[in-house]
């Protein structure tokens, strides 16, 4: 069975994926991998890849299907749906909040001309101020929040066209 995963935002396809009991096998980039589960305690586990044993840990999966995985000293965010992760700031023309916080200042109004890199509003989070900057030269189309409003991480705060 072919299967796709997203690892740190990048899509990865594996072939001949088979998971039976305590073994997992699949092909990736022309190489066949075989893993067995040696032990598991809570989130942590010991795996064997035929070449040796290594520690791994898998976190709780978030609502949008992302899971933090640590294996052999490497840490990554995985999802096994194959769909692209929603990355803050990646929305077309939209500027997203990088984290939850409070709108501290609105520097530009709708209709204002902005240059790439120019701050449009300031978000206060973790007791620090973070400038939300325009990602291009253009005009502010809309500011979605007012000073003092609380916003979640990844929410579109303003649009530049």
């Amino acid at each position: 069975m072919d299967k796709s995963f997203t690892i740190n935002g990048k899509e990865i396809k594996v072939q001949d994926f088979k998971h039976q009991h305590d073994t997992v096998t699949f092909s990736f980039e022309g190489k066949t991998y075989f893993y067995s589960l040696i032990s598991r305690d809570g989130h942590e586990m010991i795996l064997d890849d035929k070449g040796g044993r290594f520690r791994a840990a898998v976190g709780t999966t978030s609502r949008d299907g992302e899971t933090m995985v640590i294996a052999g000293g490497n840490e990554a965010i995985l999802s096994d749906s194959g769909k692209k992760m929603k990355k803050a700031g990646a929305h077309a023309g939209g500027l997203a909040s990088p984290m939850p916080g409070k709108i501290f200042k609105v520097l530009k109004e709708a209709g204002a001309e902005v240059k790439k890199g120019e701050a449009i509003l300031i978000l206060e989070a973790m007791k620090m101020e973070h400038s939300i900057r325009s990602d291009k030269d253009g005009k502010v189309k809309k500011i979605f929040f007012q000073v003092g409003q609380l916003v979640q991480g990844g929410v579109i705060l303003a649009e530049v066209e």
Partner: protein, 494 residues
């Protein structure tokens, strides 16, 4: 008089740190917690623990009246302020002493003197302490500030006089940036510290941040516990600290420590303090500021000197003499502290949030994890993003580094994106290993500190790990935390 019960006016790892020593000394401990912290260990493991309610910091950990009321009500005879929060708040120190409670810290006068960066430098001019060329005047008009800035010559540093932690701080390289930077530093100072007073200083190229740990009692003893090297910083906040400072001659080490002791003696200091210096590459050093509290990074000093600095603080506060002499204090081996932050170093060090599934336990000898969280607890937006401090001692620097890298793989902080991997990259960097540390280390080595691309084998093992867990849904969701003894412990506190 012997202190019998201490209220710790702080949260997280430092509240637990104070608790630990107090218990070693047979002293009862009272902690306080904001409601959103009620599941964290500082709210669980003290002899008594009281809620500060909900709301802004000014209603909880910074509510002086509430803290003093609780102290009186529970019969504690002393308050330990930890670091941050009210630890350097002169008014609080006064209120505590007026209420007949011992403040485990310096006198209010020392806090005032050292809290004002302009005032402190003026006072120190009398003690023959090297100061960087700069403008510390009261005339704060834009014209004067701009004139003085140009007189000192670029690059210069503009700082909020009452500032700290990098807030209200700007580096200016040329005329065109000057006015904007002055105004920026002023407004941040006003917002963060209710003062828009700024000072201007010559900016030292590739400086090292070297600080000296001091401890003074009320019997005229002013001791130093040697230096710490704290140059590895991001956004003016320390990330990796160590002692002894690498690439420093014994002669220079003793000289800088002596200078710091002279400051403590000169202002008749009391308790734990740290003098921070900027050290130029040629070994010249300049006084930067004095922190009138226990520092976050104090454990590296404890590891190398064997002293318990919190114990010293408590002894001094109850009027005892310090139990050691200067010649008894020696540096043995090397200690490194890594600050584990909930942040994404590969996305501009943005703070992150989430629930910690598993913290993990360091297993090597002489490794200490000072951590304010438990498995299953939440990391939110309301407080500092520092989750824990991993402090590692080694016989020499090379071993301290390799043990730290190994230990960073043991403390997972699974569930929250942290700078754990980034810390491994810093510790493994050739320039760090060679001891070539300066405060621009992180920005200067930005590209070399980027994450290594995952190999195909790395990717395959990550997929395997995910597959083994997702097979059994018991791992997903809340069933895991319900069986966690720590989380069930919180039940009876509610």
């Amino acid at each position: 008089m012997n202190i019998k019960k201490i209220l710790v006016a702080n949260r997280g790892e430092i509240a637990l740190r104070v608790l630990k020593t107090a218990k070693e000394m047979g002293i009862k401990v009272v902690t306080v917690f904001a409601e959103d912290d009620k599941h964290l260990p500082h709210a669980l493991f003290a002899d008594e623990s009281y809620s500060l309610g909900t709301g802004a910091l000014s209603d909880t950990y910074l509510n002086k009246t509430k803290l003093i009321d609780i102290t009186k009500r529970c019969g504690a005879d002393a308050i330990h302020p930890g670091y941050g929060f009210l630890s350097e708040n002169e008014e609080f120190a006064r209120m505590v002493e007026k209420a007949g409670i011992i403040f485990i810290g310096p006198t209010p006068e020392s806090i005032v003197l050292m809290g004002d960066k302009i005032g402190s430098k003026k006072a120190l001019e009398k003690i023959n302490v090297p100061l960087t060329p700069g403008y510390h005047g009261d005339d704060q008009s834009e014209e004067t500030l701009m004139k003085e800035a140009k007189k000192i010559g670029y690059p210069i540093l503009i700082k909020a006089s009452a500032g700290g932690g990098g807030k209200g701080m700007r580096i200016v390289h040329e005329d065109s940036e000057l006015l904007e930077s002055i105004l920026g530093a002023k407004s941040e100072g006003l917002k963060s510290f209710s003062s828009d007073k700024v000072l201007i200083e010559k900016y030292v190229l590739n400086p090292r941040h070297i600080e000296v740990q001091l401890m003074s009692d009320t019997h005229g003893n002013h001791l130093h516990f040697f230096e710490r090297e704290c140059s590895i910083q991001r956004r003016y906040q320390k990330v990796v600290e160590e002692t002894p400072a690498p690439n420093m001659s014994q002669e220079l080490r003793l000289k800088i420590c002596e200078t710091a002791v002279e400051i403590a003696r000169g202002i008749n200091y009391r308790g734990a303090g740290t003098v921070e210096f900027i050290m130029a590459q040629d070994g010249n050093y300049y006084f930067m500021e004095m922190n009138t509290r226990l520092q976050v990074e104090h454990p590296v000093t404890e590891m190398v000197t064997g002293a318990d600095l919190v114990k010293c603080q408590i002894l001094v506060a109850q009027g005892d003499k310090l139990p050691m002499k200067q010649e008894d204090i020696k540096q043995k081996g090397q200690a490194i502290e890594c600050r584990i932050y909930a942040e994404d170093p590969d996305n501009n060090f943005m703070p992150t949030i989430g629930r910690i599934d598993t913290i993990g336990v360091p297993t090597l000898r002489d490794v200490r994890l000072d951590c304010g969280f438990l498995d299953g607890t939440e990391v939110g937006v309301n407080y500092d993003p520092m989750l824990a401090k991993l402090v590692v001692w080694g016989e020499n620097r090379e071993l301290a580094i390799s043990k730290s890298i190994h230990s960073l793989d043991e403390v997972l902080f699974l569930g929250v994106k942290t700078n754990r991997d980034y810390l491994k990259r810093i510790l493994g960097h050739n320039d760090f290993v060679a001891g070539h540390t300066h405060t621009h280390f992180i920005p200067d080595h930005k590209s070399e500190l980027e994450p290594k691309a995952l190999s195909n084998d790395n990717i395959a093992s990550l997929i395997a790990a995910l597959s083994f867990s997702s097979k059994k849904k018991v791992f997903i969701g809340s069933s895991e935390t319900l069986s966690n003894p720590w989380t069930s412990l919180t039940g009876f506190r509610n």
